[in-house]
């Protein structure tokens, strides 16, 4: 089928629920309306109100009860309506979900998925655009996945649902319906923790993920045309656990790196990537690593959000700074 990202989410959920009767889908508005983005559309009709249901507006209890359900033996796939409403779940993710296996010495676990549309650029209300994946990647025991294409979305989400540990699945809502691509009808998985090399190149490595991928790809294309160089673009797909190998191999080849993400700069995941490269590939670096990120401000409301988000011109300037060894943006 030719599908968008949000259609792939829906397809993956249908596939998972049909394949495993322990999969339970719930959240705010997911059952009757199919969710505000329609990601869960049709599930209730197909699988019934015991397995697909609307909860009260309570992110704390959605996340916390997912831990309990998962411990009991179910496979909850809970939706948090927007990533800006994830902070109330943080306590449950830190204090409970991520620790159950460790605390019980492997006797129990919390194989749950929390899905949330994340990121800005859709002219939404305040608190609807947050991109704080770095904060969740800092939690030991929690896995953080961020797809950027429809085919990846289906394979990664099915992996996440089968995964024996808790997964935060951040869906780039700006890309939900922005393009289609062929997505296999059948059930398939893409392993968590494996990055994808989107384009191979020799002159510089650009690392990004999720909603920044189209801008990053566009910038790379522009620069390749402008300078007659080849650029390697890595889509991380999974923030935690991190695919260090793909990154390090690429850096060894190109010697130059830029990281692009839309979350704030300080303490952002780019910082982790810089440190990782320092540990494993410092001597291969030919220039300082450049970070092209959002600013250290709350993600602005719709009036200014396009100024906040990295765009191809900013990314291009960041890459040039690395290529030319000069100061960046």
């Amino acid at each position: 089928m030719n599908a968008t990202i949000v259609e792939s989410v829906n397809d993956a959920l249908h596939t998972a629920m049909a394949g495993d009767e322990n999969v339970v889908v719930y959240g705010e508005d997911v059952a009757e309306t199919g969710g505000v983005f329609r990601a869960t559309q049709g599930l209730k009709d197909e699988f019934g109100p015991k397995r697909v249901l609307d909860t009260p507006i309570t992110e704390i209890a959605i996340a916390g009860s997912a831990v309990g359900l998962a411990m009991y033996g179910y496979r909850p796939v809970a939706e948090i309506q927007f990533s800006g409403f994830l902070p109330p779940t943080f306590n449950q993710l830190v204090s409970m979900a991520s620790r159950i296996r460790w605390r019980t010495r492997g006797e129990m676990s919390a194989p749950m998925v929390i899905r949330a549309p994340y990121g800005g650029g859709v002219r939404a209300l305040e608190h609807h655009s947050e991109s704080l994946e770095a904060a969740y990647a800092h939690i030991p025991g929690l896995q953080v996945v961020v797809p950027s294409t429809p085919a990846d979305t289906k394979g990664l989400l099915l992996s996440a649902i089968e995964n024996p540990d808790p997964v935060l699945f951040l869906e780039p809502k700006r890309l939900y319906r922005s393009f289609r691509e062929p997505v296999p009808e059948e059930e398939y998985t893409i392993p968590l923790g494996e990055a994808a090399v989107r384009t191979e190149g020799e002159d510089i490595t650009v690392i990004s993920w999720g909603s920044m991928m189209p801008e990053t790809m566009a910038a790379a294309e522009n620069l390749e045309a402008e300078r007659d160089i080849s650029i390697e673009v890595i889509d991380l797909r999974t923030i935690s656990p991190l695919d260090r190998e793909t990154i390090v191999e690429s850096v060894k080849k190109t010697g130059k790196v830029a990281v692009v993400h839309e979350g704030p700069k300080t303490g952002g995941f780019a910082a982790e990537l810089v440190a990782t490269i320092n540990e494993d590939a410092l001597m291969y670096l030919e220039a300082p690593i450049e970070r092209v990120t959002g600013f250290d401000v709350p993600i602005p409301m719709l009036g200014m959000e396009d100024y906040y988000l990295p765009n191809p011109p900013r990314i291009e300037e960041g890459l040039k700074a690395v290529l030319d060894g000069g100061a960046g943006t």
Binding site: V24, K50, T55, P56, T58, I60, A61, A63, G64, S65, A66, V67, G68, L69, A70, M71, Y72, G73, Y74, P76, P88, N91, Q92, S95, M96, R101, W102, R103, T104, R105, G106, E107, M108, S109, P140, G141, Q143, N163, P164, D165, G193, P241, L242, R244, E245
Partner: protein
């Protein structure tokens, strides 16, 4: 002591009768709401209300309460001697700790918060593991077979989890409930409110079991809520609640038995056992900073084990009890548990890295390998760890 609520078992939790504790609270706001009681401080009891327990079972209740006393006294001593980490004593709460757990049934799960040693033992937890837990050994949390969850030290965090777990029971049509032990501070948290609300919407078989022991560390109950009771917290959520004399083990048992049947039918319920923590919050706490000796003395007079002894005398069961022997047995059991805990050998540093994930990611493997190599190369690190001042 508050007046006894007039009720029969089937009516305790029936929100439609005038005997509901919730309604008492609403209609008589100026008075301290009554709590359900069967045995008073003198051991005088209402024979109509004594639950159908055999003499042996009554003696068993007494044994469990004595064990709780022994555990608390000896754990605190061990902590003072540096042989135990920080410990939370349940002294004064023996009746509420034991009465609830004793009323649960075989398939039920218990979600503890830390101050209920014998409740865990009643579920089947070996006393050795309780010692290991308070010594900070994670292996102690292997309690799946005993249907217990690790204690929720971060206040409120286990509430939505326990609700989710009992939601699983409901989906599974299981004949079991989850009993969420908690204190009077927990209802102050968002976790509690959200969990209770979800339980009420989902009709999960969840028992909210509050040991209202008067204080959350130094904050008295009045500083937790403007409400007069925890039981009434259910009103706004459509849950039934009962307030029971938590120092009357028979009243606790009776209320939880009744509540359990109600809960098992998909009616989450709050049981608030009104009791008093006679010891410090934990061994790190100095209660003299926030409460007066007179208050503690007054509650010492109401302490539950002596009260139950007076009941057993009046009931004519006491001549079958050898209290010294029971206490000696409890101490001997503790001795054996301590010996086993002392003999327990934890694994090496790899224990820290195990079980974070089902499959350990490469970076974590690497951190472990590097750390082990470091320890091989710098064995003096062990000396530092051993000699560093603790606590």
């Amino acid at each position: 002591m508050g007046e006894v609520v007039d009720h029969t078992d089937s009516r305790i939790l029936d929100g439609n009768t005038s005997q509901s504790i919730a309604e008492c609270t609403l209609t008589e706001p100026s008075e301290l709401p009554p709590r359900y009681q069967i045995v008073d401080e003198d051991g005088t009891y209402d024979p109509e209300r004594v639950p159908a327990l055999t003499d042996d079972e009554l003696i068993e209740l007494y044994r469990w309460m004595v064990l709780q006393q022994v555990i608390d006294v000896r754990m605190v001593k061990l902590q003072r001697r540096g042989e135990m980490g920080t410990y939370a004593s349940g002294r004064g709460q023996e009746a509420s700790i034991v009465g609830c757990a004793y009323a649960l049934e075989e398939p039920d799960w218990l979600f503890p918060y830390g101050r209920e040693a014998t409740a865990l033992c009643i579920q089947g937890m070996p006393l050795r593991d309780l010692l290991l837990y308070w010594r900070g050994v994670e292996d102690a949390n292997k309690q799946r077979a005993n249907r217990t969850f690790p204690p929720a030290i971060a206040i409120g965090t286990h509430i939505p989890v326990g609700v989710g777990f009992s939601w699983g029971m409901a989906l599974d049509d299981a004949d079991s409930i989850s009993a969420l032990y908690h204190g009077d501070g927990h209802p102050s948290t968002g976790e509690y409110q959200a969990g209770m609300n979800l339980a009420s919407v989902m009709d999960t078989p969840t028992l909210f079991y509050c040991q209202n022991n008067g204080y959350s560390i130094s904050a008295p109950f009045e500083r937790q809520t403007g409400a007069k009771t925890v039981a009434q917290k259910g009103i706004a959520y459509g849950l039934n609640g009962i307030r029971v004399d938590g120092n009357d083990v028979l009243a606790v048992y009776d209320a939880v038995r009744t509540a359990r049947a109600h809960v098992a039918d998909g009616n989450p319920t709050i049981v608030e056992a009104v009791t008093y923590r006679l010891d410090a919050h934990t061994t790190n706490d100095d209660p003299s900073l926030y409460r007066r000796d007179e208050e503690v003395d007054r509650w010492e007079e109401k302490e539950p084990v002596g009260r139950f002894e007076r009941f057993l005398r009046q009931r004519g069961v006491w001549d079958r009890v050898d209290p010294d022997e029971i206490r000696e047995e409890a101490n001997a059991e503790f001795d054996r548990a301590k010996e086993a805990a002392d003999a327990y050998e934890s694994g090496g540093v790899e224990e820290m890295f195990k079980y974070v994930y089902d499959e350990t990611p490469p970076e974590l493997e690497r951190q472990l390998a590097e750390f082990e190599q470091f320890l091989d190369e710098r064995p003096d690190a062990y000396d530092f760890i051993e000699h560093r001042p603790k606590g």
